[in-house]
């Protein structure tokens, strides 16, 4: 049962936070210190962060700016934006060589190049080879392209983010079609859906993310703590799975 206040019972990693200012408006957090304070309000220990510039304008510039957001305690984990162009892939290759690329994300695949193997082979072949997981926003991708392309690169670990109830018909099929696909839950809230999906696919296929500042950090975290999933599964979804996907145990011990 709930109370009028909330704090999580398990360690939490928010797998989807945007930093920096969108050109549609400034972020509520202008510094890492402000973001960490916001995370503390909701009991979020660590967060996977990417830069708004990488989403809207330039992945390479956004990634450069993201470096300024990394805190000394390692609570903010960088996620690099990428595009299927040489300069972007080269940047990720360099970061990977330095041991700094634990995940990447791809935006705006509705744009100038369909998310099909013929357009993305250079990038997807590279990610397959080095085993870097790829975050993909569902709002940014044609679902048919997504299904076809994920089938063509079955070893890539993908995280589908921002599923809305209008994606409900597709979500289950996408999870069925590719066993290396994980669903981030920032906006996915048809009634009972999380429990049903965890029953069917196992908790390993789901991760908590807020997509802050698009959405507040607290509501989905609160939701996950008020389902009938076990405490072990809750811990996996709230942080354990993200830790595994990013190899954080391994990196923390390096």
């Amino acid at each position: 049962m709930s109370s009028l206040t909330f704090s999580p019972r398990v360690p939490v990693i928010d797998a989807n936070i945007c930093v920096g200012n969108h050109n549609t408006g400034p972020s509520p957090c202008q510094t890492p210190t402000e973001l960490l304070a916001e995370m503390d309000i909701f009991g979020v220990q660590r967060a996977v962060i990417y830069h708004a510039q990488g989403e809207h304008i330039s992945p390479t510039d956004g990634n450069t700016m993201l470096a300024n957001w990394l805190d000394k305690d390692g609570r903010l984990i960088p996620q690099w934006a990428v595009m299927p162009v040489e300069v972007s892939i080269k940047q990720i290759e360099d970061l990977y060589a330095q041991g700094k690329a634990s995940s990447v994300r791809l935006h705006n695949t509705h744009g100038n190049l369909p998310f099909r193997p013929w357009g993305f082979d250079n990038l997807l072949s590279f990610l397959s080879e080095v085993e870097i997981p790829l975050w993909i926003p569902l709002v940014d991708v044609d679902l048919n392209d997504l299904a076809i392309t994920l089938n063509s690169y079955p070893t890539i670990q993908t995280v589908l983010i921002g599923a809305h109830y209008t994606h409900n018909l597709a979500v289950r099929n996408l999870l069925l079609a590719n066993s290396n696909t994980v669903l981030e839950l920032s906006r996915y809230e048809p009634i009972g859906a999380v429990e049903d999906l965890v029953d069917e696919f196992g908790a390993e296929r789901f991760i908590y993310g807020s997509w802050y500042p698009r959405y507040a950090m607290g509501p989905i975290l609160f939701y996950l703590h008020h389902t009938r999933i076990s405490e072990e599964d809750l811990a996996l979804i709230c942080g354990g799975n993200t830790e595994r996907l990013l190899g954080l145990h391994r990196r923390d011990n390096d």
Partner: protein, 251 residues
């Protein structure tokens, strides 16, 4: 019940949602399971898929009758069938016992301040009823229309469903609530923008905010999580979660 507060969800639906692949959700057991997991005592439900009103209202009554302590039905009518609109409202309120009205302008050709809607407002004015509207930034659904209607029908409580949903329309809803004591702000939305609940409470007033979920399209748990995790006072949470709704519905 949450910390002694009776929790009332002001926005829920009866009806099937197969269009989105939700084939099992028109089911009181599924709704009650989610409600019980978080302490929601009562959910207000309406059926908006039949313009005659009667078909949906009967389905709502049947749904509510299975758990009359947990569900409250709201009457639905549409001005696209004006000849039966008031007759159906009388039946739904007087015979089915529904305490409030739901209106859904996106399913009509008219903005909700236009003439075809006014017989409904006159009916509600005579009886001092609450009406919840779907509101957003599209022409038919603008919360700014409350600034015309609220002074014209002072005994009607006008509830802005979703509080306008997006910033531009939310500002209109808040402005109307600031000007008129009979305008209320309901909270459900998949746009869970940080600070929205705080904004509604600070600018509109804690006594005007109503928790709603849009169940079963959306689970009531993340939607109530917006209120519980908001940086507002405990008293404001109590009012939004149930105190204000109990006052409006005389529960």
């Amino acid at each position: 019940m949450i910390d002694g507060t009776k929790v009332i969800d002001f926005h829920g639906h009866v009806g099937r949602w197969e269009r989105y692949g939700m084939t099992e959700v028109d089911n009181p057991e599924i709704m009650l399971s989610a409600m019980d997991a978080v302490g929601i005592d009562v959910a207000c439900l309406f059926h908006i898929f039949h313009p005659d009103g009667t078909t949906g209202n009967d389905l709502t009554a049947k749904f509510v009758a299975q758990n009359p302590d947990r569900f409250v039905g709201f009457a639905y009518v549409s001005p696209t069938m004006p000849d039966r609109m008031i007759q159906e409202l009388e039946r739904a309120i007087d015979k089915l016992g529904f305490p409030a009205i739901k209106l859904y302008p996106p399913y009509t050709p008219w903005p909700f301040n236009e003439e075809p809607w006014h017989p409904i407002y006159e009916f509600a004015e005579e009886r001092g009823l609450s009406i919840i509207f779907h509101t957003d930034h599209f022409k038919n659904n603008r919360p700014r229309y409350f600034e015309e209607l609220a002074p014209q029908y002072p005994h009607v409580n006008f509830v802005s469903g979703h509080s306008g949903n997006v910033p531009e329309a939310r500002a209109e809803a808040i402005a109307a609530a600031q000007k008129y004591p009979n305008v209320y702000l309901e909270t459900c939305s998949t746009y869970r923008t940080p600070g929205v609940i705080e904004e509604l409470v600070e600018k509109g007033g804690a006594d005007r905010v109503l928790y709603g979920s849009d169940m079963p399209l959306m689970d009531p748990r993340p939607q109530i999580g917006k209120i519980i995790t908001a940086q507002i006072s405990l008293e404001a949470k109590r009012m939004a979660l149930g105190g204000n709704a109990a006052r409006l519905l005389k529960l």
